[in-house]
Symmetry: D2
């Protein structure tokens, strides 16, 4: 008989697309990860009450609520999960942390670096997580493993883009993501934040950057595109690009890394694959190998399906949560947390400033 | 307030890999499909009691049981789901149907065509489903839509393979899938059955076939590979291949269809993509288009995530179940059902006989 | 100072597309291969005089002629190259061989196996070559090398197709290739002959086959498609397909080979690449590697351009000729020659007979 | 009878890899292009006499010479072709132009912008050509056609790289390309010059840029990598990258262009293909189409082989020369010429200066 599990009651603030992805992770984590916790979807909170009830019914939330201020301090809640527009992240997270809750927060953590720092400070004593879910794409976790093993040797180049075509779609123009007051920035917080987090994860700290930012849509007060040059602490150089005008790309979160030992390439649109060029192979057998990263011996392949059976987008959230619960049980630190997100914001803020000032910014 | 849902209590017999996939579908269908039923994972049944408890705990089955004969007639059960080795499908399904239960059965339905017919006959008065889950890969459902719209014109060629490398793996040699007594056949029932079901779904009835069957492993009493030539009722010709010695292929369930209007291509290893060549385009713009089939306007794209966000293997089970529940509510017939599987078995039996007799077999 | 080269005067019969490819090879071989011969494009012969002169001028043929009977016995000619419709191959080749000339002949060598045998007999005492040019695609020559090195281990499956869409194009219906009297067969001689030659080259003799042949176009007296099952002498099984109704394929001459050691894949449309799956690699690093086969250390990479610089279709003819001249200088046997083509025709005839008789044919 | 052709006697200075590619173009252009000129490979000139004779014999040069100063003024020479290390381009080209010769010059035209300007000035009265051969890759010519037809709509992003791994190869470290005195620059002149020329060709003038340049190899006095941000006159933004440390890339000269109407993508390693995403197609049929650009109705498809038959690297030189001869006969201006190359050098010099000064440089 398995030991009784410890219940963790969750309150989720927000009920949009991210709310669905989080709800799914809460429901699914126990099916794929062996965890001592029993997650209970206690309350879902949002301002649009008519939408809340069906969402709660669909995903198994026990209660609905409309005032996050009340929810975050409820004594029966252990975890507050934030899936709101960006501008609300800080007040909710700070209140939840001050109430001693475990805090999960969607990315970007904040609308500015100072705000992120305030959040990290407030959350200093509670376990916390930022949903930079792509670190847990099995192919990306495996890329990190190959790098850690030294298979890429000295890194020369890191090149990453996150491109979609949402900016070119007039039907989306009114959404909160396109308004500075609610989003803080445009593509920088929305897409480039993922690029920056993965760059930290795979290639370490950035020492300086030089950015070009651009808004294509007339009258829009946020950035539609950002392209930047970067120097990394490990001596490699790179470029990042985020754009909502990458017409032809549905969800291209992609990177390539070149080192003395080989190359790695990834694209989220084909997330079950990692491309690896082994420059230490015999010259006439060197080429790009398309690895299906769903086993065997791949990250999370014991958790999900069998080799050759693709997994989808939502598993990145499930694996993030599975790893978090494991660190929680073991009293280890989890990454990426609020402190990691502060580092990302430090870069994002530098991107904005560099784009405006049109010059290199040191992050040393 | 949504109307109260009708409960459907499920008993699942079997607890292997397929048991996990089915459990997941039962847990997830309500999150992605709007259904009037509330599925309840009532009892999981299997012979290996030590493994049952953790499986039940992990996937939320309320009870465990070891005697399927008792389970299938329990009055509190409405649905019996069969995920056992093939040789047990018939007795369980027949007993469940005779007890008036809705019956779900893994593929291949039976170990022979006569057995399949007996099962279909027994299930004539109950709603039933065979887990030929790949019809609900969104890309395959979309292929069917393009064909139905006439975009491929007159079909000339249908070419399909299902290849993996399991036969070449000595560690798997003892599993039930490699023994005739439990599996009925080798690759024919295991992999070729999917090929045949998809061919029916996409290209209609087969009128005759000519097969070569082969066993590579010494002493094995089931087929490792089957390759066959086929004529379809629509005038097209084709070839099918199933092999467990397709070294280099993890899970290549793939097809290509050529018609006067173009070509379609699919591979399960990249299940979010469909390849479409439009032969009606301007000659200098004709080429193979790699479509990401996760929206917009694609089958099930409203159910799952947003465009560009890949889905995985398990969603084919969820969508199969979602569609089944919809037909159940609307009192419509569901496909593929036991009768459809009889047609598949008619082909599979012909493959075995043709391989032995080394001649064409008419299926007209 | 290099030694003076021995002149070889060439007479080419035929002036269509193949005449261009051959002319190019004659002009180019000395630029890429170190050969003791100086090829001289002496006379081009054809029945369409108005087209001959510009062709001769464009490709540097010194003379034009319209009677092949006169040309093949001219004492100043050392090499007769045949690029006519198939039905003329035999009379020209036999006459040329009887006149003691070196004979080059386009594929298929003949319109039937007996005719091919008569040609081989007549050419028994002269150096000869059949333009099965694809053996010299560097990627295919490299595939052969990997197989010879044992990297694929025991071969299980050989799967090959040659597909184009010419049959579906009404503008081509009147061409000689679609008429039995001139071509001998349809897709069998035209495309399937290449498949069979490559199968011999890569996987050895075929012991039996079972074919389905089909004509889609009403009133056409040759086959449009042929699909067959084969057993090889090495114990592997396979399937071949040739079709002119492979809509969506421009020139897909492709194969896949699975063995205990891995998989190889090739497609002529991307002729600079070979796909290799190494099943002896660490399990989590096994995948399909896309090798650019234009160096380093690849077949012919010293002859042509630098690594990474693609070569095109015509280089397969140049390399065939370069190798032939090398064997000629060294008094070695060249392959594929007329005897090799007889073996191919033995298979092609069996395909026709099997398709008609609808049964296995032994080639033991 | 075709009219007698006008002879053009060529002197080529240089005999390395580029000398081979040029020689091939001179020999082949008449086979693929209908031109009123008869090219005669009169004299090949270089400093390494032992290597000259075999090169001349292999490629059909009538004479060898070692003093370019004598060659460029010979009255029997009409065309001087320069394929030497970069530092020699200017003196040879200026002398040849002053002697009234037609001048062909390898890229980069010069070792600096002022030198390029001097060359362009000297060549103001003679027909001239710079071997930016990639404009004549059929796929790139077709990309230009699609852009000219407006199929990409308003251009948003232009992203281009030229990556190889030569810098990581110690065996090449001593070559002239790695020494400032002979090459003028490193990757900037060698690879980035192609990127810049194609950007002009496909997307028009650059108004400002901001570059990061880097040398990985200790002690090397030229740049190994350059990455830059650019603004184009048409309002689009972009990034360029050139690197000799792009380990894993053999010859990746690649670009992607995103516009309101779609996307284009190209990679020289697969030069017979162009990727086109048509954003005006039905949403559920939008995807990346892989076009084989060797016919029908593609640039140069009437010149070379039949649809589906790949062409190789050398055809880009042949087509450049074919087009040049056509403009020469028709007394039209040819592009890219020395004036076009001056514009490229203006950008290249700005890249060097921006890299050093670490700031935006205006090119308005």
């Amino acid at each position: 008989m398995p030991a009784a599990k410890q219940e963790l009651n969750i309150a989720m603030i927000g009920h949009g697309f991210m709310g669905r992805a989080h709800s799914n992770a809460f429901q699914q984590v126990g099916h794929f990860f062996d965890t001592p916790y029993q997650l209970r979807l206690k309350v879902i909170c949002g301002r649009d009450r008519p939408k809340l009830a069906p969402m709660a019914a669909q995903w198994g939330w026990e209660e609905v609520a409309t005032e996050w201020q009340e929810v975050v301090s409820r004594p029966d809640i252990q975890v507050v999960d934030i899936a709101t527009p960006n501008a609300l992240h800080a007040p909710i997270a700070i209140a939840a942390a001050q109430a001693g809750k475990i805090v999960f927060c969607e990315k970007p953590l904040a609308v500015s670096e100072p705000e992120a720092e305030a959040m990290a400070k407030a959350a200093g004593n509670v376990a916390n997580l930022v949903w930079f879910n792509y670190r847990r794409v099995p192919a990306i976790a495996f890329a990190r493993k190959l790098i850690d093993e030294g298979r890429l040797g000295q890194i020369f180049h890191y090149r990453a883009v996150y491109l979609n075509q949402s900016g070119n779609d007039p039907s989306k123009a009114g959404a909160w993501r396109y308004q500075r007051a609610q989003a803080g920035s445009g593509v920088i917080g929305d897409l480039l934040s993922h690029v920056v987090d993965l760059a930290f994860f795979l290639n370490g700290p950035i020492t300086e950057l030089n950015a070009m930012t651009h808004t294509f849509a007339p009258g829009r007060d946020v950035d539609d595109a950002a392209v930047l040059l970067v120097h990394f602490a490990n001596g490699s150089i790179g470029s990042f690009e985020g754009s909502r005008y990458g017409v032809g790309c549905r969800n291209r979160n992609a990177f390539e890394i070149h080192g003395s030992g080989g190359m790695l390439g990834f694209n989220l649109e084909d997330m079950n694959r990692l491309h690896f060029y082994d420059a230490t192979a015999k010259p006439n057998l060197q080429g790009e190998t398309s690895l299906l990263i769903n086993g065997p011996d791949h990250p999370y392949s014991e958790n999900f399906w069998k080799p050759g059976h693709p997994i989808g987008y939502e598993h990145t959230f499930i694996a993030t949560l599975g790893d978090f619960l494991s660190t929680l049980a073991n009293r280890q630190g989890f990454h990426p947390n609020f402190d990691d997100a502060v580092l990302v914001h430090r870069v994002l803020d530098a991107v904005e400033r560099s784009g405006q000032a049109r010059r290199w910014i040191n992050l040393g």
